[in-house]
Amino acid sequence: MSYNSIVLVKQVPDTANISGQVMKPDGTVNRAMLPAIFNPEDKTALELALQIKDRYGGKVSAITMGPPKASEVLRDCLYMGADEVFLISDRKFAGADTLATSYVLSEAIKSIGKFDLIFAGRQAIDGDTAQVGPQTAEKLGVNQITYVEEIMHIDKKKIKIKRKIDGGYEILESSFPVLMTVIKDAAVPRPFKATRVMAFKNARSLVELEKMVEGNSLLYIDDLKHEYESKSLFIPTLTMDELNVDADRCGLHGSPTKVYKIESVVLAGGEHVKIEPNKEGLSQLIDRLMDDHILG
């Protein structure tokens, strides 16, 4: 028995390296200002899908929604072993909250075709909401298992999963299809395979091909697209028109949550007592804490 998996991946700003100028006045994030990385737990999710494919066969499709630049993580998916990748990209999808995102993702999944398993990271490091996975499952009308720690067994009827819960774990059996969100401990993502990097480093999305044409009058977009398709190096882009989605449910407009206010964190600069880092200073500190009955 083989299994077809879809993996939801996201390119995220590396939140560990944030400078002050990344917020736009409307409260959304200017991603262009930040180094962008493959969301770590999504990589773990892809690894689990690839492990199932290695063992039982089937197909692994990776999809991401984001600006054209997000095709970078799709190339990474190809380097790791994904069979096909899809970029969901349209200006009208921009500014989406988790509800609008999960709507577009669920419609994209429906358009891609039959699946047994959907994998996603538990959460993305830029928002930490952990909402898109469950909301996508709900829209597809499929079961979900969040916080997946280990796939214990899979056969044609059932998948057996160990998941994390407060203060412990539980082991669940679910029928297919099922959407799983994966925590970092579930697997160690494989490194890129050199042969696959050589094979797919030139994979390009339509927007990227258009950019190549812009600077070169000898290139024609239709020819170029055809050439890339014939070499299996074309990354299909799903836009609003192709997905046939309801515009009212997409992007900023289709997002019920709105950013009302953004405040920079202004530190009060509160006064504190400076303690010298030597024994005399520390002795004074302990005396004060003892006097206040905090210590001793």
Binding site: G20, L99, A130, N143, G168, Y169, L295
Partner: protein, 339 residues
Amino acid sequence: MKKASNEIWVFMEQRSGKPADVSFELLSKGRKLAEKVGGTLKSVIIGQNIDSIARETFQYGAKQALVIDHPKLKEYKTLPYSRIMNELVDKHQPRIVLFGATFIGRDLAPRVASHTKSGLTADCTDLQISQVTYLRNDYKDLLLQIRPAFGGNIIATIITPDVPIQMATVREGVMENLSLEKPAKGTIVNIPYVEDDSDHVIEIVEKFQEESKINLKSAPIIVAGGYGMGSKENFVLIHELAHVLGGEVAGSRAAVDAGFIPHERQVGQTGVTVRPKLYIACGISGAIQHRAGMQEANKIVAINNDPDAPIFDICHYGIVGDAAEVIPNLIDVYKHKLK
């Protein structure tokens, strides 16, 4: 758009029949929100033999407890629980629904928000009611969902102006637990459980759960280490200092990510919120997410070799120095004083 009621609901989480602390904290906050909007606080409890939990919610001001009690609902499972919540929310259109940001709450809330097309904000550190002007429209009594965002450089206030139902999750310990002296006169409304085929798509084969032995929330003294401790070896100093002072050990998210300390001991927005008598922050820079979890400590001592670290803006005693050198001295001096 359906007209929403003025009801504020708290999903009461129970694990094997024991209610979660966070649910009572949410009721305490929900009561204040209800007073502000002139609305009614209600609790929703799904499980088996949960009448005592329902009655306990009256102690926190719930006027009504919606109870769905059935042996097949004993343990949390995504599909039956979310189906029941979806049906209840669809039917009664509460104005606000609050969930704990626990493993269960974070599994359930997004599913319910998706079904009801509601706005949902995760891990709020504060909730307020306010009149809001947004894009030239005036809204009365909106829920302000406040959380740090984006690496902690900003505090975002999220609103859900144009949908009838506003939802939020909140971590345990963030809101204070305030029960009433005199319980509210509440009623229990029993709602029958009608089985659905989808309830059996998933079965629990095994479950292991134990109450955390770590109780950071009630520890009077906490010694916390951050990424600035440099290594797991240096982190031993945190344990030694905590041991000498009779306190608990904690860490920042960076320390957890670096593998210095397990997640159960993480203080901050995505960890535990604490209010100890004394909090000693060692090698912790003091990002907003961390401060959200400890800034209400009675006394804060900060040790950091960067004099510009934000932790110095909220501490009471600041020591500029390498924590790995300061801590052994601190231990020596303290032991000497005890003699």
